[in-house]
Symmetry: C2
Subunit: 404 residues, 2 copies
């Protein structure tokens, strides 16, 4: 497996583009993205578990019922959620895709992200569709990735090549994250494309398994968005023997998918609203995987611990506190904790009690921008990783006046 | 029922005091409190549900097994948690109470609050005990309330008088809150004293029921502390007919207890770390009380909503989002939301969709320091209230360098 360029256009047969349609006031900010496949693609998706679901998600779910799709349209600046005419507008977006690309409106993944509860005006989208569709190109992943950003500071894009049955396949993805991120069996907006040949059933199986260890293991602020969605389109143009069962080929595909999603997870966490640091919590030796996941996630969700990391303060008591209230089964009296970064590694807790450590060394380690929290139990072989970020003044600032 | 002065010394037979023992470096900050009853008192307590439990809680639990206690000792500045010698130190604190007051060491409620994972030195407590015990006085509630404060900006103290069986009874309490507050079937440090006569069993029953609607309904930051505890001592000196069963007298006692705990809850929420506003979420018309509680609490726990309140931004979509991910059963398409304060009331959402409102008026309402979020369903008679605070720069500041 090799990292390559091209994001969602890396795989054969995919084009993309992104422009400023006018949904956002800032003319320098692209706000509408389109991704299309030359041929119909197997499609899989996972959606937010929030009871309040964005209208676009409902329309997408309906469109993906047959397991296939060919285009993705996504706007930023407005979530099209909690609006009386939400479904109507989301369907109108699909109609516009059909009108300007010829792709059937029922083969469209539609997504929106931004403010909740303000009606989304279709007019700017209508006016922009001609330019958007005619701008579609094999180098357009970058533009699409920019267009779906909201409070993201950095664009999130990745691609890999891999082999299945002697054929070179490619897989790539873009994502937007930043705030209201605490996925629960679903996640923020992530679009993955691949030219691997795989049935819709196996594609969904791969995605559903993947998110348990990828997007479900990140949290920026504990808020599960109403519009979270991960979708994958696989158009089969790599011409590998179709993956229609578990086995070696399926495993190779899952591994490539995981490379894309894990990269995007880290990027989303690192670029959390106001974040200055990526936090990676690694749990080992837990009773089982599920308990390891619960513990890893609880730690990176703790506001107190996140604030301590902002201050580069090795306040490890907050880690133990977060393990203790996580609800996981674990022996808190036999846990070791250490903190690490490129500047070194330091043990802060052995068997549930504090150990002496050099505060200056700890400060040096925690001043780096990627911090690893190593949590080791002696109870089993359960392992998990989670990703989060520090809690900063800027998180408060960004969310204190998001709408203005 | 009437509000009176005196806090934990309002009830007959209680004395208290608080001094600077030297656990904290700042000499102007009291850090050791003692509360005693003239006679043995029925005692009840609830403890944190965190798996990591402070050593003092374990010792207190053991001491209260027989249902009685006579003294409370509490230090701030160090939580005596995650220390190898924690139990030993907590027991040493009880021994010191016995030595200096004559009250049996097994009749002591012991509590600690502050940093986790740093051994608590008994020396300053030992040296201070003589002055602390000799300073005990019937006007000492104020000193005790000050001594248990950590990052609290304000002292929390209240008392009420009420009647049972023709006898005048009194009940009062002190509390410390501020950070690491997200009680779960237990809470931060709250000490309540009363001269009502009640059996230990009925006292525990009253307390256990009370916390479901009081301390369990507040959250500052979603972190359930390792040292949360609420305890009540009832010494019976009001000489009312002993409350040993449910009925009118028990109800009168519960009402008085609730007056004390509700007041302290609001104070704790309002004085959350860095808080500038008290948020009260009121849910009505939910399927049942339990679902109403889940919804009310989810809203005041949302970091995004809390940040919006700091910015006086009527971003009600975040309220709906928090209801949606709460896990409660509810019909999100038939919910109304309004925001209110002493400056007025404004409807922001009807039947799950936004309604037009005057942003300037909303801003005016949200600029006040007590905000009520009214959430109304049409599904049943479930009602609940919860209390929280806004998320501010100062929360981050306080917790970015708490130990330094």
């Amino acid at each position: 497996m090799e990292q390559i360029k091209g994001g969602v256009c890396a795989a054969k047969g995919f084009k993309a583009f992104g422009i400023h349609a006018g949904i956002r006031k800032n003319k320098d900010k692209k706000d509408l993205a389109l991704i299309v496949s030359e041929t119909k693609a197997a499609a899989a998706a996972t959606y937010t578990q929030n009871l309040v679901k964005g209208a676009p998600l409902c329309v997408t779910k309906e469109n993906l019922k047959d397991g296939y799709a060919q285009a993705i349209i996504c706007n930023s600046g407005n979530a099209n959620t909690c609006n009386a005419n939400g479904i109507e507008i989301a369907e109108a977006m699909c109609n516009l895709v059909e009108k300007h690309t010829g792709i059937s409106k029922t083969d469209v993944v539609v997504a929106s992200t931004g403010v909740i509860g303000q009606p989304l005006d279709i007019t700017p989208i209508e006016s922009a569709m001609q330019s958007l569709a005619s701008g579609l190109n094999p180098d357009g992943s970058n533009d699409a990735a920019e267009a779906i950003m909201t409070t993201d500071a950095k664009k999130k894009e990745i691609a890999f090549s891999f082999e299945i049955g002697g054929k070179l396949c490619k897989i790539g993805g873009i994502a937007k994250g930043s705030g209201m991120i605490h996925p629960n069996t679903a996640t923020m907006l992530v679009f993955v494309t691949t030219d691997a040949s795989i049935t819709p059933e196996m594609l969904q199986k791969a995605l559903s398994a993947d998110i348990l260890d990828s997007f479900n293991m990140i949290s920026i602020d504990g808020d599960t968005s109403t519009n979270d969605m991960v979708s994958v389109l696989a158009n089969g143009m790599a011409e590998n023997p179709i993956i229609d069962r578990t086995g070696e080929d399926f495993d190779a595909f899952c591994k490539a998918l995981s490379a894309v999603t894990t990269y995007l997870c880290r990027q989303i966490a690192k670029d959390g609203e106001g974040a200055t640091k990526l936090l990676e919590s690694r749990v080992r030796g837990a009773i089982d995987k599920e308990n390891a996941r619960i513990i890893a996630k609880s730690v990176i969700c703790s506001s107190l611990f996140k604030a301590a990391m902002f201050g580069a303060d090795a306040n490890w008591g907050r880690i133990l506190c977060a393990i203790g209230y996580s609800g996981a089964k674990c022996d808190i009296n036999h846990v070791d904790v250490s903190l690490a970064s490129t500047a070194g590694k330091i043990d802060v807790c052995k068997n549930g009690s504090g150990v002496d450590f050099d505060e200056d060394e700890a400060k040096k380690i925690l001043t780096e921008d990627e911090i690893i929290i190593d949590i080791t139990f002696r109870e089993g072989s359960g392992e998990a990783r989670s990703w989060g970020c520090d809690l900063t003044y800027d998180y408060v600032k960004i969310n204190g006046d998001y709408r203005t």
